[in-house]
Symmetry: C2
């Protein structure tokens, strides 16, 4: 019997860039292919994707990439993978619909091998089979993935919650998960994002109650911002708007696109005559209007942020408006979001961001739901995914409370295979793995050196010194030029540095001047030391010596 | 009768840098002189202080700076003010004790005019009087300030909560606040930080219960991190440690200093023989030890962060340790704090950061406490301070609920005087006001241009081009040099840019080359346009032309 390996290339010890390989002999399947967002230290970075070296090296073995749902942290890196290798991509019809847009933008002309699945399908992938099982989350058509191996089933929960009143009425197939549990789950790879929250999370449907409260009180226009992929949230907004006799308009490209596609395909059931175009809102009174908008993360170019600055041409905030902030901040965006909220309030807009009746709920399982999943699947081994170390730790405490002994619980590290043999499991040899940084222009692989330079310059700035050397004569020619950007010391610091540098350079012998590398080092040394001694700042000092 | 003006130079529309002037005729008093922390856009900035131009211009009128308590957002800018003008500083004995350390560090040799007050003192300040009234907060010896003017009392709550079981047993002088209310409060300037929280905040004393729970369960060493100024928190830790027979050691310079001063001066009542030096802990078993440490904000150089990286020489984390995170993240520090927590967990340290029994409570009043303050002081006018616009807005809603009409409620902007005349109040002409940025080296007044350059370079980097021109001959001499830092485009971008630049430069006539400024502009134009077209990145392009 071959060993079975589960290798997370991301999504463990972190939230984001979920991407996990199941390998048995010469067959591999990949579950999800997500991105994550940069932290505050990754200057100039737009998104972070997994290092796909291991997948590229094993491309002949990959039988398919299986996507659980259409959130960026599960599908956002797919264009970058498909730009390197051709592999079939399996996902629900809905998920494919959303990622097709992105593939067209990022890989124009690429004919990707996209294969829709239905829940319950048994998809053959070499000697492995993959079965998607319906489970509720904050996006339609979301799947758990049961991967059948020679040793038993590896069960990926993906992102989930147990919502008994889902907005689309499509319930989790709890019975099927139980059947799979009875068949024999070797290992459960469980969502752990919300493991800090006790109890059972509120249903997505509760948000309608929160909306109704706002609608029943608001005198003016109602605006709502949420993630553009949160189809259920938009469904509830249009339903409640219709209930209160308000028309709905939408601003923000991605949201308009999704609303359009989803209503055409039936993923949003549009009440009759509820939608209006933005240029039609002038035909209605303020209390007859609701407006969906992007910008829930304080993105500088989004409609909401521009409105908050009074810089959005198509729509202006006015006194009496009410904004429902129906989202959670992705860590790192808090500052930008609160600045937006504060600007809106200053313009006379009421902003509802907290409410006793919820206006936002999480799509991830709370503690009792996580236990319910363990109860249903009854796995032999357990490993939390989709969590930072603190989440993995707490999840494992819960598993212990449920009777799991230490040796059946694993805390995965990215790139370290969890190897299942016939009668035991343990860690294998690490594979190539890491993070790859993508900048705003789409350049892949921003280097650590570049990041270090950016961080360095962003703190204390940069000082550039230009010299010209006549190498034959061993003489400096012309006057050195000293320029700085982003550097600010006490007045006169640069003048003094220039003086000291000049004094030092004049003392070099002809022989020393001929050695251009020596001139460069001397220049950099003198200036760096002087600045540091005088100001205790450490700007990047960059000499440039031109030879003539 | 003279008009009375209240002018906030900071602390309104923001949390931090509290500094407010009360002016009547030729007399001014200043309440607090605080700093704030930079947001994520202020690269290389250490702290932010108010612009003191208005105070410097009116230094002859300032009768004193009155400090409510020793938190940085109320006293942190004092050294910068005292470096510009000499004014008497009034504060409690305890507050003076803490700021003396900082004055000695920042203004060595400076003889500041520090005047201790007792609660209940009527301090004459020109024609004004100032009365500090004791009120509870998360630091000892905290005051409200009642400023008596010709028109009535301006009452500053400072930071407060109504804590009926304060750790030092020193209760709020509620009766005195009520008497002042009966005497006649013209305007209440109220803390509004926690206005989003309904109900009444928990007492600081509840934290002891949280500590006891952790102490009763922990097998190994217990570490605790909190703000170095949180004397009550440290008091509770040493008390609970003594109760459980554990010794307490302390790491982190500021915390050691404060612990030392406060225990010598009696602000911490030290149980007998509880403290040990760090080098003595080897004489005790792990379950006989508790360790206080700095680093609650994830500061890179703090003891806790260095321990989490295994880089702290004096103390190492080991499996079985428990850390109590007894603080709240200052906005912007979340990332650094969670990275620290995750690293500690990976080292086998249990980290308690949330708990049904609190291990941290806020020092600021919740909604019902804010209402209680309005009830006690019965002001004619109301203006929330110590809050962002969202807090000011909510506070004003509460005031309206309590029956205050719109025209008696003010939303202050920094620098805009609130002017009280005999029978009415309104806004006056703005005074010089703003933020002043201080960098890590203590340089005051980082310019917007420098910040813009840092932000620019931190995103897309910088490209420097060096040329030498023989002005007489109208010729370029030697080969141009192109260097970049923090820039990364697709492979070959810089080589291609160099080529195109060289081609362009060669086509310049002798006359054109003689115009060095023209050469500089042409260089910058060609390179900038090429890079942007090819990569859609916008690095800073900086040519340097040396004349020989």
């Amino acid at each position: 019997m071959a060993t079975v390996e589960v290798i997370a290339l991301g999504g463990v010890g972190e939230i984001g860039k979920n991407c996990t390989v199941v390998k048995q002999g010469d067959d591999m399947v990949v579950i999800d292919c997500g991105l994550s967002f940069p932290n505050e230290e990754m200057l100039g970075v737009d998104i972070v994707i997994p290092d796909f070296t291991y997948l590229v090296e094993n491309k002949e073995k990959i039988r398919g990439v299986f996507l659980t749902h259409a959130h960026e942290d599960h599908v956002g890196a797919l264009p970058y993978l498909l730009s390197q290798i051709d592999v079939p991509v399996y996902a629900s019809e809905f998920t494919l619909l959303l990622i097709k847009q992105k593939l067209e933008e990022k890989l124009p002309g690429k004919e990707a091998d996209l294969r829709p699945f239905n829940f319950g399908d048994q998809i053959q992938a070499g000697a492995l089979t993959v079965e998607p099982v319906r489970v509720t989350h904050s996006i339609p058509e979301n799947a758990c993935m049961a991967v059948r191996t020679e040793h038993g089933i590896i069960f990926f929960t993906g992102d989930f919650k147990f919502d008994f009143t889902p907005v689309d009425n499509k319930l989790t197939n709890i019975t099927r998960i139980g059947e799979i549990g009875r068949e024999g789950v070797l290992a459960l790879m469980s969502d752990s994002t919300n493991v800090e929250r006790p109890g059972w999370g509120p249903s997505e449907a509760r948000v309608s109650e929160g909306f109704r409260k706002v609608f029943s009180e608001a005198q003016g226009r109602i605006l709502l911002t949420t993630f553009a992929s949160n189809i259920h949230r938009m469904q509830q907004l249009v339903d409640v708007a219709a209930e209160f006799g308000r028309k709905v308009a939408c601003v923000g490209r991605r949201m308009e696109q999704n609303l359009d596609i989803c209503s055409r395909m039936g993923y949003i059931k549009m009440p009759k005559d509820v939608m209006v175009r933005l240029d039609e809102i002038r035909d209605y009174r303020d209390d007859q209007l609701a407006i969906l908008t992007t910008g829930s993360q304080g993105e500088p170019m989004s409609a909401l942020v521009q409105m908050s600055k009074g810089e959005y041409g198509r729509l202006q905030i006015k006194t009496g408006d009410t904004l429902i902030y129906s989202a959670r901040p992705i860590p790192g965006n808090e500052g930008a979001i609160w600045r937006t909220v504060n600007r809106l309030i200053r313009q006379g807009c009421r902003v509802i961001y907290e409410s006793p009746t919820p206006i936002h709920v999480s799509g991830h399982a709370y503690q009792e739901e996580l236990k319910m999943m363990i109860n249903l699947t009854r796995p032999f081994y357990i490993a939390p995914v989709h969590g930072e170390p603190r989440h993995q730790f707490l999840y494992n405490e819960i598993a212990k409370d449920m009777g799991y002994p230490e040796h059946r619980i694993f805390t995965l590290d990215a790139g370290v295979p969890l190897v299942f043999e016939e009668t035991n499991a343990g860690y294998g040899e690490p594979v190539a793995c890491g993070r790859v940084l993508v900048d705003n222009a789409g350049t892949v692989g921003i280097s650590d050196e570049v990041l270090r330079d950016r961080s360095h310059i962003s703190k204390d700035g940069i000082i550039m010194i230009t010299l010209a050397v006549d190498v034959e004569k061993g003489e400096l020619v012309g006057d050195p030029i000293m320029q700085s950007k982003g550097f600010q010391g006490p007045d006169g610091t640069l003048d003094k540095a220039y003086e000291i540098l000049w004094d030092n350079l004049k003392q070099l012998s002809r022989e020393e001047v001929r050695d251009v590398s020596r001139v460069r080092h001397a220049t950099s040394d003198v200036v760096r030391r002087f600045i540091q001694k005088r100001t205790s700042l450490r700007p990047l000092v960059l000499p440039s010596v031109i030879e003539i």
